[in-house]
Amino acid sequence: MIDPLLLFDVILGLAIVSLAVTVLVVRDRFAMIVLVIVFGLMSALAWVRLAAPDVALAEAAIGTGLTGALLLATWRQVRTEPERWPALPRGVMVINMGLCALVLAGLVGAFLATPLGTPGLGVAVADNLADSGVEHPVTAVLLNFRAYDTLMEVVVLLVAVIAVWMIDRGVSQAPQPTLGPELGDLPRGFARLVLPAITVIGAYLLWVGTSAPGGAFQGGAVLAAVGILLLLTQRYQPQPSHRPLARGVFVLGVAGFAAVALLVAGGGRVPFEYPADHAKTLILLIEGLVTLSIAATLAALFHGREPEAISTQGGRS
């Protein structure tokens, strides 16, 4: 007798793999992006089944939602270009595919030979959770036990936004990623209704992260969605004069996080060792700064180029 939930898992797994294949072979590039969004949501569902709600939330918000928005914005700009289909020699294709089949066989063999459920660090996390300053284990790992990783991850975001500002130079004829007049006032009205609600949700996710699934990244992603809606509805138009402020917000997360990490050191404490009494306050402070930075950075990554003196579309507000 097969457990019906296991049957569900099998079907979900097969659906995910076939979606992955379809994403790469479907002819239409718009369909490809829509399918990858569906693929991301399915993966998030699988991660819920694997008892990883935080990961599912992050994948749905960042890995799928925002990544999808980025992909669509780029697609809008390059869609005039005909797609280049594989021009590789047939022999090379066959060799590559054969190689991938071998890799798959090897990896599956190694995976099947490994028993699942190694003890891992879960016990150590549980033992030290009381000293971490937060009650939710994933947040404790992200903001305390492995805070250095998380700081560096915010650094990766900073590198990305600097690199994108450098690479993507505004070209006047490039189409703007806006909803445009063809969609009329409907999205604007929608935005007016929805924006405050999303902002509240983002702030709530940040707050709840200390004790339940959620946290800086998910909260930041939701707030970034607010930013993207503002950009799309042209409620906010980046101006060259806003650059210093934008730079400040981009670095806020890294700078604040690093400052806290270093300032707590001394008097026998090492960097990142928060004093026990203030651990929760410091973690919330870091999370707040990081959330702001993440939201601004992700929205800027969506917008792409650095606001420069080149005139954008006529102002409507």
Binding site: G109, A113, V155, A258
Partner: protein, 488 residues
């Protein structure tokens, strides 16, 4: 350690460039001064850390005081301190060179504004790799490096650079993701990701798969043949200081991780080590042939990187699986030699191009424009890369062959000889050009033969040449803290 030092140098060398990057990004007009200042500061901190390792042995900082495997430890031993010193030292001289290259009248303001934050973030990532003792942390650091390095590659904004940068980006991300899947397999098997955990682990299928994935990913990022296809165009089309950083420093980070993994995942299988050596041979042959055919100076230098990375892998494999416990030193010494000499060479090539307006090898000549000092630096760097005494390159090759000889792997000696001859062949294409008078086609304005900007490549080239005399102390220093003590 009984009491913590007043300043923790391990965190300092990662955080100082980070702080510099933030300031340079916030103050774009002052970026160059902030940048040089931060690199100087980092170099001073790195020297302090080297001194500390020299006097106290390996140094460990358990971040957050949790201790591995729950937390992340930073650790500096001889090998990491050597590579970190190499990175900050070479980085400092390249920064001084960059100060000139991106000076007001030469480059668009945009380049100056973005070079410094990206380079400082790269420096932070590189130091982070050398001090890390955690596999997932290495993955994050590798991504910091990738994104910053891609940014530096496309700094000029020219179409060739952007095209090469995109290829580099794909290779770099794929390499990192292969590494990440390997990390997943390690956690699946061991339930921890610190180096100490690897050390204690018995061989298993999952660890085998993890090692294969991680080494494949790192080989892609370090451009080991046949995964090198992205490198030549990326390094040849970047601006000179960026090329110097990419070629001298960025590829070393992934090479270093290979050496580290080999230290912890002993014993390696004989087949794997032989395969690595064989790919090294392929890299030497193919890289040299392409360097012989290259028409542009920077492309030749870039292809020679492929060949010399191959030699590092040959050094790693020189004495078989059992010899790896000693062979990593030969590999590390060759990495050091290559970093210093190649930085000198790219800066010199950039200077030559700047002065004579082109870098076509066919048309290189001696007069009337002769960036003499730049040509001299190029020649000295070539001497080290070819491996003539007393250069650091010579010391590296000597140790390679010595180890191969004592363990009876004569074929690696033959390979090293061939690599040397090929490098003589491709570098002499350039050096003969420097000595010719008869190729002159156009008259260009008078040039005095030297400039302050030649100081950086010349210093680097002299270091590459002279440090060979210090090979023995460097080797002794690299040995500090090896092998890694038992699991805590």
């Amino acid at each position: 350690m009984i009491e913590m030092p007043a300043i923790d140098w391990l965190t300092a060398v990662v955080f100082a460039p980070l702080a510099g990057a933030i300031l340079a990004f916030l103050l774009p007009r002052q970026a160059h001064w902030v940048g040089v200042g931060a690199v100087v500061l980092t170099a001073l901190m790195a020297s302090a850390l080297v001194l500390q390792v020299l006097t106290e042995g390996a140094v460990v900082t358990p971040l957050g005081n949790w201790g591995a495997p729950l937390g992340i430890d930073l650790r500096a031993d001889g090998l990491s301190a050597t590579l970190m010193a190499m990175t900050t030292g070479v980085g400092l001289l390249v920064s001084l060179g960059a100060l000139n290259s991106y000076a007001h009248h030469r480059a668009p303001e945009r380049m100056r504004r973005y070079f410094w934050p990206l380079w400082l973030l790269l420096l932070s990532g590189l130091n982070g790799v050398y001090l890390s003792t955690d596999l997932f942390n290495l993955y994050v650091m590798l991504e910091v490096i990738s994104l910053a390095a891609v940014g530096l590659t496309v700094l000029s904004g020219r179409i060739e650079a952007v095209r090469a940068g995109l290829e580099y980006m794909y290779a770099s991300i794929l390499g990192a993701l292969l590494f990440l899947l390997g990390v997943g397999f390690v956690y699946l098997e061991l339930g921890r990701l610190d180096f100490a955990g690897l050390l204690a682990a018995p061989p298993s299928p999952a660890l085998g798969a993890a090692l294969a994935l991680m080494v494949a990913g790192l080989a892609l990022k370090t451009a080991l043949f046949p995964l090198h296809v992205w490198l030549p165009q990326a390094h040849a089309n970047a601006t000179a200081p960026a090329s110097a950083l990419l070629s001298a420093l960025v590829v070393k980070a992934s090479l270093y991780i290979v050496l580290r993994l080999a230290q912890y995942l002993l014993p390696l299988s004989e087949v794997l080590v032989a395969l690595i050596g064989l790919l090294g041979v392929g890299a030497i042959l193919w890289g040299s042939i392409q360097a012989l055919r290259a028409e542009r100076l920077k492309l030749l230098v870039a292809w020679s990187t492929v060949a010399q990375i191959g030699l590092v892998f040959v050094a790693f494999a020189r004495a078989g699986a059992d010899g790896v416990a000693e062979s990593w030193k030969a590999a590390a010494l060759l990495m050091l030699a290559h970093a210093i000499a190649k930085a000198a060479m790219f800066l010199a090539a950039g200077r030559i191009k700047e002065e004579i307006g082109h870098d076509r090898i066919r048309e290189l000549d001696r007069s009337p424009v002769r960036p003499t000092l730049a040509q001299l630096s190029f020649a000295l760097a070539a001497i080290s890369l070819v491996g003539l005494p007393p250069s650091l390159g010579f010391a590296g090759k000597w140790i390679l062959m010595e180890g191969a000889m004592t363990s009876g792997y004569w074929h690696w000696i033959a390979v090293t000889m061939i690599a040397t001859m090929l490098s003589v062949a491709y570098f002499s294409r350039v050096l003969t050009g420097f000595l010719r008078f008869d190729r002159q086609r156009t008259t260009v304005g008078e040039h005095q033969g030297w400039a302050l900007a030649d100081a950086a490549p010349l210093t680097l080239a002299l270091c590459a040449l002279g440090l060979g005399l210090l090979a023995a102390p460097i080797l002794a220093f690299m040995n500090i803290g090896y092998p890694f003590g038992g699991a805590p």
